[in-house]
Symmetry: C2
Subunit: 209 residues, 2 copies
Amino acid sequence: MDARTPSALKPRKRPRQARARVTVDAIFEATIQLLLKDGPHRLTTTRVAERAGVSVGTMYQYFPNKQALVYALNERYLEVLAEKIESTCRAQHGAPIGQMVEALVDTYWRAKTERADVTRALYRSVAEMDNQTLVDDFAARVNAATTAMLASASDTTLDDLEATNLTLVTVIFGTVRNAFERTLPAAQAEALRGQLVTMCRAYLDAVTA
Amino acid sequence: MDARTPSALKPRKRPRQARARVTVDAIFEATIQLLLKDGPHRLTTTRVAERAGVSVGTMYQYFPNKQALVYALNERYLEVLAEKIESTCRAQHGAPIGQMVEALVDTYWRAKTERADVTRALYRSVAEMDNQTLVDDFAARVNAATTAMLASASDTTLDDLEATNLTLVTVIFGTVRNAFERTLPAAQAEALRGQLVTMCRAYLDAVTA
DNA sequence: GTAATATATGAAGGATTGCTCAGGTTCAGG
DNA sequence: CCTGAACCTGAGCAATCCTTCATATATTAC
């Protein structure tokens, strides 16, 4: 758990026994399902506990309040996502730059598509409860990884690494998100993903020449 | 008011006298301010009325419930935004395609930047209350306008107008939104806007050649 | 086996919220 | 000036909702 986590949102205690770990997982899963079904403003501690098959009191043994629950959920999700991105960046170290962005788009797109409904549910929950800290931390972490990757490109050195990196990351992440909110038919979504890669490559050609 | 507005969200009645119009405006403004200050999940009918300087009952004379209030607010905002975009598209009819996207980015970016705080507040409120209908309508409207514009380009005809249009719109809108959530320093934001234009132009060169 | 610890329960308290309604005030038209 | 329509008031009801705590069970360590 991040040291930067606001104290009011820090988990009360970690599960030590196996059954407790099962319980906490069930609580997380129940939260996702409810977020999905009813949206964030109908997310209730009672309902979460009910669906998780535990009592409210149990939930409060691990999370000091409702917000902390959603916070922890997003933290968990972003942690996994950040790791995937970092892994891709490491794998592409020293590759040609065009291949890099393609890999980045692929990784991010796939991560979001794997459980599209969960993605949507969490996007909404981040907005409702305010988890800006989480988002900022995530952004910083991703930024470091992609910057390092781009700097190692075998076929070019970028004039303004910072600016190009910021542009690529913002465009890719923003586009993916927007694509999700439109709930496009699969074929169109797939086409869009291809076009996004084309676009990024064209951009890199332009700022490289 | 759109005919597609779900009946549970339709305004109860329109203000007929001048003082009533003032009241409704005050209610809208109060909603924005509270959304800004405390986020959507602390938006309360009592608080809205209080800050607007009217009583709760007054609010309920024009809106059947809280959700309808937020809905109407976003409807108003998106209406203005859609008009700006349509206006730009008309103005660029028959222009070179590169100039078109530049104008589109400019218009959208400026519209969002003019009152950046309001933009952020509304982004969040759309997510919390579910106003998907509004977003979909907006998307369809913008789509029609930009498609018509792109089709009239003086210097090229696009192979796949639909796909290119979808790509451009999704990328531009998504990027702008993401840029806002990161609360970038003004200089970086400005640079990003420029890079976005470069990117779109490079993309158009690529799919046109 | 037993003490210490971890985990689970759920009724109930306290606070808040969305919304109504019976009764007032202001305005516009005649 | 008068009357009906438009507009406004705000105490209070009903419905939740978040959270606690006294109590009970399961697990681990010895």
